[in-house]
């Protein structure tokens, strides 16, 4: 087996007026874990796709072991020992691990697929790198972390010496992420290398040897993990000093505002996604729900917002039953909602910032008189919000012309404008740059301090742990634990997120909707 040394020289890729990669140099030494960090849109994926032969650069060259190569496509990259694990796995759920691994390049005997040999290969590779995968498991039944390892195994089976992983930990529980880090380290022992993208600086610091920071299509910093810290990385990523923790006083809990009892709801495919959730939100409190995505959090929030039918259960807002109420009625009763997918649900992208800012309140007398929109008021409302939330944009610009972070600010500005009593917040900082995250966190805490009851759902464990005053973990449609975010260890939350109940404290864990506290 030969090791692989990859050099990328002056890689430049333009999309129209936008330069996604601007003269990037990158060297990946064999036997190292190399991390690429950078804000959204920095050009990380583009660079990786260039290396995997999926995107052809406009300028620049790639050398593999000193030899200039012209990658014509992924098959070419694979042939030269470069493998890639995409964020969306390309596996067949109904087939076994072994079958998935050998698809397309199966060992054959007399024209027939040699299953026995395939199983042996899988077992051998799995043992070698500590992947802990059973070749006979059905892929569809495996948890996401294991599926990802099947993808890794597939790449290794095809002879990958350099493994590219594009944001591999975005879909993992904390434990799974740690496990992945261990696998990457193990790869380097046999001289292989891993090139992975992440925006979680903590894990980057933990597993990588080399770190390359990108901003706006350029490399803004190269570090060895030993010589830097998270703060310096964040500064290089954003281009200015960033606060990573939120200052927050203890909560002053008030009366119960939103009461949910035994709520159940289906997902879009008609499978039950929320299975008997009970919780109460108090004024002046942030209630966080942690959990790996896809465990019913989305459906729970949509159901509470009136955007998804309720199968059973009851919801009361300030004592008023609102179980089947329309979104409009909920809004008039003081509920607002920052949805997880702002472009799909939270904005009209081709309409102006000003229009988006009044889309939930345009009916009120301050914006409409005799069925006619009061344009001056709509405009001054927008200008005020733009100033208060620091939205980089004009009132008459279409929202789609803003950056992700500014779009999010438009949503936040609109949803907080009415001084709501209850705010449902889902993934508030997804796709938002580090620099803007800090602001959004501060707004959420300020909202709480003004006496609102906040329900916060986030896949970022750090985020919920920092912000929440009261913390639940959601797993397979149920709230499986209620925890004290100041006292609990990340590992324990991680176990709950993975559906494992930690043996010791039964007082804190719960089953179904029965609250133990």
């Amino acid at each position: 087996m030969t090791t692989l040394r990859v050099e990328m020289h002056q890689i430049t890729k333009r999309y129209g007026d936008l330069t996604a990669n601007d003269g990037i140099d990158l060297v990946v030494e064999p036997g190292t874990v190399h991390a690429i960090v950078g804000e959204n849109g920095a050009g990380k994926s583009t660079l990786m796709n260039v290396l995997y032969g999926m995107v052809r650069p406009d300028l620049g060259s790639i050398d593999i072991n000193g030899e200039r190569v012209d990658l014509t496509g992924p098959h070419d990259a694979i042939r030269r020992g470069i493998g890639m694990v995409h964020q969306h796995f390309m596996l067949v759920p109904s087939l076994s691990v072994a079958e998935n691994v050998i698809i397309g390049s199966a060992p054959t005997r007399g024209g027939l697929i040699n299953r026995r040999q395939a199983r042996e290969i899988v077992r051998r590779v799995s043992d070698e790198y500590g992947l802990q995968i059973d070749p006979d498991d059905r892929v569809g039944e495996l948890p996401v972390g294991s599926q990802q390892r099947v993808e890794i195994l597939k790449a290794l089976y095809r002879g990958a010496e350099l493994l590219i992983l594009d944001e591999p930990t975005a879909v993992l529980t904390p434990q799974e992420a740690v496990e992945l880090g261990r696998v990457m380290r193990q790869l380097t022992e046999s001289g292989k290398s891993a090139l992975f993208i992440s925006h979680k600086l903590k894990e980057v610091m933990a597993v990588s040897d080399e770190i390359t920071v990108m901003r706006r299509g350029r490399v803004t910093g190269r570090f060895s993990a030993g010589e830097t810290d998270e703060r310096a990385l964040a500064r290089t990523m954003v281009g200015r000093e960033v606060m990573t923790t939120v200052a927050k006083a203890p909560a002053e809990s008030g009366a119960t505002v939103l009461e949910v009892r035994d709520l159940a709801a289906n997902d879009d495919r008609g499978h039950q996604a929320v299975r008997g959730v009970s919780l109460s939100l108090c004024a002046g409190t942030i209630t966080g729900i942690a959990g790996v995505e896809g465990n019913g959090q989305t459906e729970l929030i949509e159901c509470l917002a009136g955007l998804r039918p309720t199968l059973s259960g009851e919801v009361r807002l300030s004592g008023v039953e609102i179980t089947g109420a329309s979104p409009r009625r909920r809004r008039t009763l003081g509920m607002s909602h920052i949805p997880e997918d702002r472009l799909k649900r939270g904005l009209a992208p081709n309409r102006s910032v000003a229009e988006n800012l009044v889309a939930t309140t345009y009916r009120s007398a301050s914006f409409t008189r005799f069925g006619v929109i009061r344009r001056a008021e709509v405009r001054s409302n927008a200008e005020e919000a733009i100033g208060r939330f620091g939205i980089a944009g004009r009132h008459d610009q279409p929202v789609a012309a803003l950056s992700g972070g500014n779009m999010q600010k438009v949503v936040v500005a609109r949803e907080l404008a009415q001084d709501p009593d209850v705010v449902l917040i889902a993934q508030p900082t997804r796709g938002v740059d580090i620099g803007a995250i800090e602001n959004i966190h501060r707004e959420i805490v300020a909202l709480r301090d003004r006496g609102a009851a906040v329900l916060l759902v986030s896949a970022e464990l750090d985020e919920v742990m920092q912000l929440a005053d009261d913390l639940y973990v959601m797993y397979e449609g149920r709230l499986v634990a209620q925890l004290d975010p100041t006292a609990v260890h990340e590992n324990e939350i991680g176990m709950h997120m993975a559906g494992v109940t930690p043996g010791r404290s039964n007082a804190e864990s719960m089953t179904g909707g029965d609250r133990a506290r």
Binding site: S326, P327, G346, L347, A348, P349, R351, A359, T360, I373
Partner: protein
């Protein structure tokens, strides 16, 4: 310094405006090109055809306005619906029923009133008729999710059969006219006044323009207009924001149908002065082309309506002068619709739009910027 900035702003605004116009003209030019090729291949005298087609803009000014009158209205009907992404393409049916309602009221009800009031009653009847004909499609859509793009088309056929049956049966005219498959004539006191003696265009044209201005205002300023634009941009967002989506669809369809119906009423009072059993001028269909060319903008629709009105008028002389079938005009509209929908579809798939002339504009812009 300040002067500089405002100059630059004006220039960007001007190039942006130019770009919009070019973008809208592209499909038209493409349509002309394709038609030219088709005519050439079929052995027609292409220069003569275009001369006579476009000549009517000058020689048949009032003919142009006469056809612009209904086309502006069906164009507006299209714009209101399409802005909400409600695909009412059955304006021809709503126009027929508008004409039927208008005709019936003109014959049987309006004589009870003074002529002016009579005209008003007739026009209100045609508005209502068109709206009612759009209603079933709206209800099927919001209640059972039946695509309006199908139901509105089917309702054209039904409208056409209904009108034929009524005009050849219960509403059949008495005198010499009766023999020619139409109702009696509407009382002359209610005919719309021509803009010029013995010319085909009437004050109906002013009505169309006024309605266009009103609809422009309505879409941009009214609460319903606001809802239409939000709903048309992102339905999921509209429901999230607490808008009543079914009601938005129903209201939009009613307005759209009413506008097409009004076009029918004006046809009866302004041009036909009776209700024939059949009149297939494809005015609804042409309205789609008018609105698309105008980017669904009511003020642009006035221009678009006049332009397609000119083509339509030209089509009539065309047949006389060059023995080319007047269907050429419909072919042009059809190609325009195809090109624009293809372009929108392209956008929908997230691809870059194919560009012909806009590339030229961009190069001009770049030079300017340099």
């Amino acid at each position: 310094m300040r002067v500089d900035i405002s100059m630059q702003r004006m220039r960007t605004a001007a190039t942006a405006g130019l770009r919009v116009i070019v973008r809208q003209l592209e499909p038209l030019l493409l349509a002309f090109l394709i038609v030219a090729v088709v005519l050439l291949v079929s052995g027609y005298d292409v220069p003569a055809v275009f001369k006579s087609l476009l000549g009517s803009f000058v020689t048949d000014f009032y003919g142009m306005l006469r056809w612009a009158t209904p086309m502006i209205l069906t164009g507006l009907a299209t714009a209101v619906a399409f802005r909400a992404r409600v695909w009412n393409i059955g304006m021809d049916g709503q126009l027929l029923i508008g004409a039927l309602a208008g005709g019936a009221f003109a014959l049987y009800v309006a004589p009870l009133f003074s002529p002016n009031l009579g005209v008003l009653v007739v026009l209100i009847a045609s508005l209502t008729g068109g709206a009612l004909w759009a209603l079933p499609a709206a209800i099927l859509r919001v209640r059972w999710g039946v695509p309006e793009i199908i139901t509105t088309i089917l309702l054209i056929e039904i409208a056409s059969l209904l009108v034929s049956w009524l005009v050849l049966g219960p509403m059949k005219g008495q005198g010499a006219l009766g023999a020619s498959m139409s109702t009696d004539q509407v009382d002359q006191s209610m005919w719309l006044r021509p803009l010029k003696w013995q010319e085909p265009a009437t004050v109906g044209f002013y009505i169309s323009v006024a309605v266009a201005i009103f609809i422009g205002w309505y879409l941009m300023r009214s609460r319903h207009g606001f809802e239409i634009s939000i709903f048309g941009d992102n339905r999921q967002f509209a429901s999230y924001a607490g808008m009543n989506n079914p009601w938005i669809v129903v209201r939009t369809m009613l307005i759209s149908g009413a506008l097409a119906g009004l076009a029918g009423g004006l046809e009866v009072l302004g041009s036909m002065h009776r209700l024939p059993s059949e009149f297939a001028a494809n005015l609804g269909f042409q309205g789609i082309a008018v609105s698309l060319v105008a980017g669904n903008n009511p003020f642009g629709i006035i221009l678009g309506g006049v332009f397609f009105g000119g083509l339509k008028a030209g089509g009539t002389t065309l047949q006389l002068q060059t023995e080319t079938p007047r269907d050429v005009v419909d072919i042009i509209s059809a190609i325009v619709i195809l090109v624009i929908t293809a372009r929108v579809g392209y956008q929908f798939l997230g691809r870059r739009q194919p560009r012909l002339l806009s590339r030229f504009v961009r190069s001009v812009q770049e030079k300017e910027g340099a």
